[in-house]
Symmetry: C2
């Protein structure tokens, strides 16, 4: 485009034509009138990179499919490239080349943003283009843009989310039906909510990538995937969920980012006991939500569908429209990286929480005292201890601690394991008590 | 500012120094470092219009207070005017003059936006400035910007909100404690949640102004305050709330906007029975939330504090930062009015809902048949009828209808009132059943 020339049409290239790509085509087509009015210009999908251009696909009619990425990257008519390949390679390289060639980039790729965000932002500045990635976190939920543009007056101290639909569906089902982990996993796979290899979801890696992105924006620093301490839901049992209920909690896989000032930034993913009254506690099934605490806004939450063809396309196309507006105003880099603060990380050992601990112990006098002593030796004070089920000569004990450092809890657990009266530590799950904990 | 010159500082004038104004001063001061980094320029509050410049106020030190608005409107150094006077006059006139003089305007004024939005947007276009009003709806909750920028790929079919904190607090208290309307109103007044003259809140007028603004943006048309059909919460009784609970609902004052296509746009405020599982149902006390349904995103919700000094200031200052970015990029009107569609209104008589009807009737045989006939004569079919309490010779009957047009329900109610066996129609409240109703 020549500067100053009135734009009539902006041409788009898309890399990948899977679930989200199909959604993008549908949204561009079905909402064409609204989109043209809002973008102020016609948006045309010119070429789509696919692995097999001969394969029949829904919504392919009228589209130019190509197996050659250079047809998109070298096409001077294409001003916006939508990257939907997923994974690091070759998505990262293609996006860098696209920006080098002066094309704006929109991506849904959490892997690249969480691990190579720095390169992307540098390329964006260097080549004077936009790089938008709303769809990389929370599917359709607007969260990247609100953080970058609507919460700018705040010092954000906490960002906390249910940002993996698969595990939230599984935990919701476990809570509703009392099913165990293996059977809900099979059910989730059958429904297409979980993949054949579910590791990325159930081990918390997907959520970790997303919280790395969110925490970077919220705290104006750079958090990478490898900076996030991660624990998945594979060890959560129906018994834990039952105890949670009885104690007034629900079990959720939370991604948590906290700016603890001098103690550093604390970013982690793990299951938690969340009080039933917390706004995130009623986010069920495949829904996602992101909860933000800022020193002006107080508490805010953004809720919606965290995945799926059309919801994710909603975010991708909104980014495209935003760039189209920028192009017509001849601006770019409006939402540039604001990682101006170089904050240190709070090592997970130094993070604080209250803990739920479930133990299988000998059913005999003095056991409670022995356990309380083991906790006490590491200055882990107990809020409550309940002896519950009994099995022959064994009993189950559930303890909830006050807020302690993770290191102290680990030391206490190591000592508990050594006790002759303790047969097994069955679960250790963090308890979120916002009132008590404060932000850090 | 000269074009091209590098900006070092942007000067702001503020009209009004009440609750929100004090919040703005605090946020600008306490988060100065973050705000400067995000705005890319220093933001300085140069002058503040007050009624009495000699009065002692918190956070006034170092500020230039003036009783003369021209000191702000005629000050060429001031590029952004924050309007926090509230009410139509003289806020509207001051904002128009500010824009005429080339100043960008940020306002929290729902009255002006809901009634004179058109004039404001025209002035903005004419004088080449920005006009931002995030704080006019939902306090700190980002909703105007997300609608204008993040949900642009959607055809929005429904926007529904709890957008009045006073009434939500009152209804939450009634549900929690079984208190009646008058006593919760007194309590809300004592806590400062309700004003001495509570009409604007309890009659639904405040919510009506806000939904007019939201529906205009969501449906790309122009809805004014006077287009909204309004009913407040003054007639809601503890008995209604109890019946709601028993039937699986909560009572909320909802502001509802629906784009019903050829039937027109349906915009109204009234109490509703909302299913407990609806995301809005767990929004309690002074919290607000806005629920949006779009044809790509599906369901989304935005939750937070709908009022208060700092939360509202969070939205005001974010708007100021946004304008500061625009000024440095030498752009404006990026989020211009997108009221390109001229949609007709759906008259309230033609809107559809399911209804809860509570009647006091004679306790004698044949009464149910008489009532069912009165409904049936107007093609209002009943989903359930329960005879509940008995008083001497009277009984209370609760009926829930299937979805019918409001007109039919009104006709049936008029007939019911004429029946000799009906002593009183105690309540008629709409029931929201999204599954059944569809969007319209």
């Amino acid at each position: 485009m020549m500067k100053g020339e009135e734009m009539k049409e902006i041409k788009i290239g898309m890399l990948g034509f899977g679930t989200v790509g199909t959604g993008v085509v549908r949204v561009l087509r079905e909402n064409e009138r609204e989109i043209t009015a809002k973008a102020g210009v016609k948006l045309t999908l010119k070429s789509v990179l696919v692995r097999d251009a001969k394969k029949e696909r829904p919504y392919m009619e009228g589209l130019h499919l190509t197996e050659n990425v250079d047809e998109i990257l070298n096409d001077e008519e294409i001003d916006i490239v939508i990257e939907l390949l997923g994974g690091i390679h070759p998505a990262r390289e293609y996006m860098l080349v696209a920006m080098e060639k002066g094309k704006n980039v929109v991506t849904a790729n959490k892997d690249v943003v969480a691990q190579f965000g720095k390169d992307m932002f540098e390329a964006m500045e260097k080549y004077g283009v936009d790089f938008h990635f709303e769809a990389s976190v929370g599917g359709g939920i607007p969260i990247v843009m609100p953080l970058k543009q609507c919460l700018t007056a705040n010092r954000v101290t906490e960002i906390m989310g249910i940002i993996n639909g698969t595990t939230n569906y599984m935990l919701s089902q476990m809570a509703e039906n009392g099913s165990d982990y293996d059977s809900v996993l099979k059910e989730a796979q059958a429904k297409g909510y979980a993949e054949a290899n579910p590791a990325a979801d159930v081990e918390g890696l997907d959520a970790a990538r997303k919280i790395a992105i969110l925490a970077s924006i919220a705290f104006n620093t750079r958090i990478r995937f490898e900076d996030v301490s991660v624990e998945g839901i594979t060890k959560v049992t129906p018994e834990d969920i039952e105890y949670a209920k009885a104690l007034g909690y629900v079990v959720k896989l939370l991604a948590i980012g906290r700016d603890c000032g001098e103690a550093g930034v604390d970013v982690r993913v793990h299951p938690v006991f969340l009080p039933k009254a917390h706004p995130l506690a009623s986010v069920n099934d495949v829904y996602n939500a992101i909860f933000v605490r800022g020193n002006a806004i107080g508490e805010a939450m953004f809720y919606g569908r965290g995945a799926g063809s059309l919801p994710t396309a909603s975010a991708v196309v909104a980014d495209v429209i935003d760039i189209a507006r920028d192009m017509q105003l001849d601006t770019f880099g409006r939402l540039h990286c604001t990682c101006y603060a170089h904050k240190s990380l709070c090592p997970v050992e130094e993070t604080k929480a209250s803990y739920y601990v479930r133990l299988l112990v000998d059913d005999e006098p003095g056991v409670l005292a022995a356990i309380a002593t083991a906790f006490g030796n590491h200055k882990v004070s107990l809020k409550s201890v309940i002896q519950t089920r009994r099995y022959k000569e064994r009993a189950e004990i559930v303890a909830v601690t006050h807020v302690v450092k993770h290191r102290k809890m680990q030391e206490a657990a190591a000592d508990l394991e050594k006790l002759a009266v303790v047969s097994e530590i069955r679960s250790i799950i963090r308890v979120e008590n916002p009132q008590e904990d404060g932000a850090c």
